[in-house]
Symmetry: C2
Subunit: 312 residues, 2 copies
Amino acid sequence: MTKIAIVGAGLIGRSWAYVFARAGMQVVVWDPEAAVLDRLDEDVCAMHARAGAHERAGDDPQGLPSRIRACPRLEDALDGADLVQENGPEVLDIKQSLFAELDRLAAPQTILASSSSALMASTFTQGLEGRARCLIAHPVNPPHLVPVVELCPTPDTDPDVMERAAVIYRDAQQVPVLLGREIDGFVLNRLQAVVLAESLRLISEGIVTPEGLDDTIRHGLGRRWAFMGPMETIHLNAPGGIQDYLERYGPTMARLSNDAARGEAFTADAARKAGADFSTDTREDIRARQEWRDGELAALDRHLLNRSANRS
Amino acid sequence: MTKIAIVGAGLIGRSWAYVFARAGMQVVVWDPEAAVLDRLDEDVCAMHARAGAHERAGDDPQGLPSRIRACPRLEDALDGADLVQENGPEVLDIKQSLFAELDRLAAPQTILASSSSALMASTFTQGLEGRARCLIAHPVNPPHLVPVVELCPTPDTDPDVMERAAVIYRDAQQVPVLLGREIDGFVLNRLQAVVLAESLRLISEGIVTPEGLDDTIRHGLGRRWAFMGPMETIHLNAPGGIQDYLERYGPTMARLSNDAARGEAFTADAARKAGADFSTDTREDIRARQEWRDGELAALDRHLLNRSANRS
């Protein structure tokens, strides 16, 4: 049976524990805070109850909580692990010392994967003896409701480690995307960044309201991207497919992207204008909306799973 | 009863006819090709049959085909129309002479809306007596399955015309997004352009495969954007909301967007690499995939309508 060690049991770490246990794997969870481990059972059961209607409950939903075990000593948590999913703070020197410790304690064949979104793995694995077994496995929050996971190597990562990690994530019913080489922001946040830059610009120049911007995506482009992605979308937008599309519309799209906003769009004024519709939200309102979002993500995942199961 | 004149009955024009008739409006369709008008009934009935399971059938689905009437004389088609939805070829001098004719023939209170995606309305309405009643109403293909419609004014468009048009599209169950001023590409294609530029770059540099790129969106960002849009997404990605998000992650996002690809990414080589996964598709395969896409768009629309009906 595949054994996973979760290092750091905040929101992302607990969601990862849930993902692997749901798929029938054995999960051991370590966190430097004893209090976090003390309430792990309770937190997992709450997550499980909320996700009850979710169709990705796995083959043995009753047994799920029993497959997640808290472990107060890091060395014990790592014992026999096939993969470590690290979810520490995004602070370089903390990551560096944590990875040094993981590399020292974990058996040589154990894969060391970091959930980091802001740091490239080479910045905290470069000097390690076991650097070839280190990679980024960047999820979307929360991973148990959004299946993609970006696998980003460093120049030192063994391609075989990438493949072995991909198999584990696939077995866990996630969708691993293997990157060919290390790049700042990976793929997902690079795409999010260009959309945010241009969105902030259009809003701050008064061309569209924040609500109009969101409507344009959620009632427009987002309808296609939710099940196809941008490449299949344009492949189906010209009679001869993607090459035909890029011959016809490439010059227009090139012109529009040449003229698009970049980093200069991230001003305090733009942030204020973009936030105008949300400015009365308290932290409690935001938490309530996050719960609503998670319910919608679960429902959409169920919908898309049902549809793809019916695809011939 | 609201009366709509459809000018140009290709794929988009027929879908528009369907949208307005579905909402109980009276629709008259004109096209320069007699053959297109001859088979209009048949085409509408086929669209109606395919969309049969669709929940946006309106109050009187049986009566829908009878609310769409082909009309061989443009002057008669425009008679008494509240709004003209123009769907001619995206060729400047054709648009110019068509709009001159529409402006000459239509009653002064009739709104003249163009489905154009590639041309700004000022380029073909500037000299017209009735330029204040002209605007772009840019749909996503096909409008009867994707509800957004971008309303883009020219410097001459009367704000009251924008509002009256918005009411008609809202009555037709579409989601109008009103732009504050004229801009090349409007909002939707500007956002699509920046995503395509960076996507083509990442693919052509071997950082991600076309399938991996699509997976990153459809199993990642697209899951959120399908029901929230980019602004609400980031609003829920920091404890203090969108302003908190932009303070924490704005500098990272600015750095990533500064470093992003632009127009230079639209090369023949990038097109070839992006199309590699699809290269064996014949035109027939593409048509079959388009039918699959339309079925998925209908199912997703149904899903999202049901969810929002349940939102408290």
